[in-house]
Chain length 260, copies 2
């Protein structure tokens, strides 16, 4: 009997794999990887293959979202298959859909957890995880139209004094990664469309670039300053803090250069 | 010059360490571990020491919260020191306080991320991470008095259709771990104290035990049924879902035995 195991790859590169994940990957019949739901900045598939002593087949979005039933899942009916994914698995709907389809076909599934931006954002900033409200992705405009959801989520969270984590859109197959500058501009544009005073140029934000990598950067400051700050290459996230406890403010001063 | 690196140990045992963490731990002058802010069910300090070829000194709460300045921090001024912590570092206030104190003493600090219940809860249940509101810990009554915060957070989240992650209190040094049964009883008690119809015996919940371990169990059902379900040993968490998307409902049926 086959099975399908989703293995999280964490945030930086192949060295984020745990000993447990490596044992599993060495034992399975086949290893696939999807690298489009998020971006692992220093990952080298060649080094990964060398580390595992095995081939890793990288899947495109259409491989995973359109052809999975005939390929990966058909294979996982009979053999053991691992799917490597960025971050912690299942945080992308695609993974949940695939796991559901596998279970419906009678394939046993497993999940191996790993570091994720959802916990690394509070962890890296020193902002309390209990004070984060709902998270939301800022997406690129579709047909010239912006989604208003980020504004609504920020409004809801801010009213209650909660922090908001914004993930920034990725179109990996087009090599397009939303920057913190783009995200700030979109938030300000949403403010001028809605006009409810939720966010402005002087609103405090925390820009996160390459969190979990040795070249990661965190910078706290007014959104207008974050928009021109020289962050390194992607991936990015943005936090807009709610009410700050004094320890959180001190953490932002010391870990994120607030006030510098 | 010394430094202090906080290394996350993840959820299950020493095999959750990443290759990056192992490299760092092998290179530092001294390794400490705190094991009281959460519980890593299968961790063996002996096996960990064997794996690293090094001594790991386990700290008590008072070592970390009262004596850190004279011990760990004094040492980290001159030498390289790692502090191993459960889950992803910095999600406990103690870690943030220690990191602040270190930076104020001019000690360089680093954080190595790892799997955390904050992302593993959505990941393991298939519930969408974007639909989680604020998280909250259900604490043991202090002097006979229950904290009302879990009720208030659940009310806020439920009104907005959002999921709520409850972490369950741990008094590691007394060997006391709140069970899902305890948590359900506390929520029902808070309902009878507040009377606002936020939660009842038939409310849908998802009990999580030992998430990230091979003997982990997830069970979805009415709170009254979760209270008597034979979950394995700790640690535990509880999710009360808000409005369910059909894919989330299907995920709970397939991954968490909803309706069985």
């Amino acid at each position: 009997m086959g099975f399908l195991v989703f293995v999280g790859m964490g945030l930086c590169d192949e060295l984020d794999l745990s000993l447990r994940s490596i044992d599993i990957l060495k034992s399975v019949d086949r290893i696939y990887a999807e690298l489009y739901t998020s971006y692992i900045p220093h990952l080298s598939v060649e080094r990964l293959e060398k580390l595992l002593g095995k081939k890793v087949e990288v899947l495109s979005r259409s491989d995973l979202e359109e052809k999975a039933r005939e390929t990966i899942l058909a294979e996982a009916k009979k053999r053991s298959v691992a799917l490597l994914v960025p971050g912690d698995p299942m945080l992308a709907t695609t993974h949940v859909a695939l796991r559901i389809e596998a279970e419906e076909m009678g394939i046993r599934t497993e999940v191996v957890h790993a570091a994720s931006i959802f916990s690394a954002a509070p962890s890296a900033t020193g902002l309390q995880p209990y004070k984060f409200g709902r998270s939301v992705t800022i997406t690129f405009p579709e047909g010239g139209k912006l989604s208003n959801t980020p504004y609504e989520v920020l409004e809801e969270n801010s009213k209650r004094g909660l922090h908001t984590l914004f993930l920034l859109d990725i179109k990996a197959e087009a090599g397009k990664y939303m920057t913190i500058r783009d995200a700030v501009h979109i938030l300000l544009q949403l403010e001028s469309l809605n006009g409810r005073g939720v966010v402005g140029e002087s609103t405090l934000g925390v820009g996160l670039a390459r969190i979990g990598s040795p070249d990661g950067v965190i910078k706290a400051g007014a959104l207008r300053d974050l928009a021109t700050y020289p962050f390194p290459n992607p991936p990015y996230a943005l936090v807009i803090p709610g009410a700050l406890h004094f320890m959180e403010r001190r953490a932002l001063e010391l870990f994120a250069g607030l006030g510098e």
